[in-house]
Amino acid sequence: MRRAVGAVMAVLLAVVVAGCAVQIPSDPRGTLDRVTGGILRVGASPSGELVRVDAGEASGPLADLVEGFARERGAEVDWTVGGEEDLVDGLETGTLDVAIGGMTDATPWSDRVSVTRGYTGIPGAGERAVVLLLPLGENALQSALEAFLDEEVGP
């Protein structure tokens, strides 16, 4: 019986790979496609040198990186300022695409949102391995963002 189920799975695999003919990885909610040439909705929570907030706009090294990523994608950044939990809520409900702040690779939010690899090369991060938060399982967005950050600030 397991042999038969295995064969079915193999066929399913072929269908998934060939039939969809999509890029791998891709986003279940299509965030990266929507953002490209559109608007990147970023939530910012102030954190020392890393993220400064002034009149609803974020600045600082981490905010600049996100602006750079948006530029590469031909997108405008729409800033939202809030506390970390508000930002995580925003990612979960789909009102935000990225959240930045003083989050590190030890962040407790990892079961509610996707967390990028930690980056130590960001000015103002000090010893911390800074991470960015994304909607859970938006793997194409995560891959694109991580590839961008690898180029800009090193792995």
Partner: protein, 329 residues
């Protein structure tokens, strides 16, 4: 009288056992490497996590086989008059229960994940100056590790019948089905890659159902043997043919009117109680002794034998004349 049970083996069995031990050590080594490799890439995929835990669980039958072998070599003693053969059954039971509990746990986890629509997150890694999606590495690792179980699964399934070893048989059986786990986890990961997040949980559920099924089969078989069901073949398919051979051998004796037998499986060897109804009211001791030795010569598994003269055959024992009723599971 010298000791009745047997703890040494004939040449063919000793050879098979030597090979089995070598394969078990090889499997443990291979699986450990697999576990480390998967640990490096496990990421946020439930299917990968499930396959990883299954690999860890698959070590239990091998370890319990090797531990039980150390014990069953000990000769019977006053304290353990039947020897320590049941150690094999205990190991079998432990393996079965572990698979059953953890498999159920994993199945629930994947159902909950599916119900909550938790999209699995699989990011990238930086490798040789390139940013690579971790999913590709998962697929690569699983594709590399799929080959091993084919070899040791088939090798062990050839060794299980001559040794009449159910732990080895179950172990080989699971190894032979292991490729379905690997394929499922690859499907799950590629599903996530294609944006079909649910495929990950479907694959995880498939793998955990396989674990539960293995656990159920092993637990059932181990419990039935520990509860002394009548001895069956190594794959539990049918009553062991030795029973009728023993009865036939006894009934060939001129002094025996009818005979029946009660055999329990001690793990690798049997414990035999043979009942004989003699033609006359008196039985010579040397005939009973000769019958006992005759049975012991039939097969290496039946060394622990008692022959009991009785006036009529107990109903629950196996004989060709209708005494072999089988009720219950």
């Amino acid at each position: 009288m010298r000791s009745m049970g047997r703890t040494d083996l004939p040449v063919a069995q000793r050879e098979a056992l030597r090979k089995a031990i070598r394969w078990e050590w090889f499997t443990i080594g291979y699986t450990s490497v697999t576990i480390v490799l998967i640990a490096l890439v496990v990421g946020g995929s439930q299917a990968m996590k499930t396959a990883w835990i299954e690999d860890m669980l698959s070590l239990i039958p091998q370890v319990s086989f090797l531990v039980a072998l150390l014990l069953i070599r000990r000769p019977p003693s006053r304290r353990f008059p039947y020897g320590l053969h049941r150690a094999m059954g205990v190991g079998h039971l432990i393996a079965g229960v572990a698979l059953l509990i953890i498999g159920t746990n994993l199945a629930i986890e994947s159902i909950v994940g599916l119900a909550r629509a938790e999209h699995p997150a699989i990011g990238t890694v930086r490798l040789f100056g390139q940013t690579i999606w971790l999913g590709w590495l998962m697929v690569a690792v699983m594709a590399v590790t799929v080959v091993g179980p084919f070899f040791y699964g088939h090798a062990k399934s050839k060794l299980a019948p001559p040794l009449h070893n159910k732990v080895l048989f179950a172990d080989a059986d699971m190894a032979k089905a292991d490729w379905t786990t690997t394929v499922a986890s690859i499907v799950g990961v590629l599903g996530v890659g294609a944006g079909q997040w649910w495929l990950d949980f479907a694959a995880a559920l498939f793998i955990s159902c396989g674990i539960v099924w293995d656990g159920w089969k092993n637990t059932r078989s181990a419990v039935l043997d520990l509860m002394d069901q009548r001895a069956r073949t190594f794959d539990d398919e049918e009553p062991h043919p030795l029973a009728s051979r023993i009865v036939a051998q006894l009934e060939r004796q001129p002094w025996v009117r009818e005979a029946s037998v009660r055999i329990r499986d001690m793990g690798q060897v049997f414990h035999v109680e043979a009942f004989v109804v003699p033609w006359r009211g008196r039985v010579r001791l040397d005939r009973v002794e000769a019958a006992r030795e005759g049975i012991a010569k039939l097969d290496w598994k039946v060394q622990d034998v008692v022959v009991v003269p009785v006036t009529s055959l107990p109903e629950e024992t196996s004989s060709p004349h209708g005494g072999g009723k089988e009720t219950g599971p």
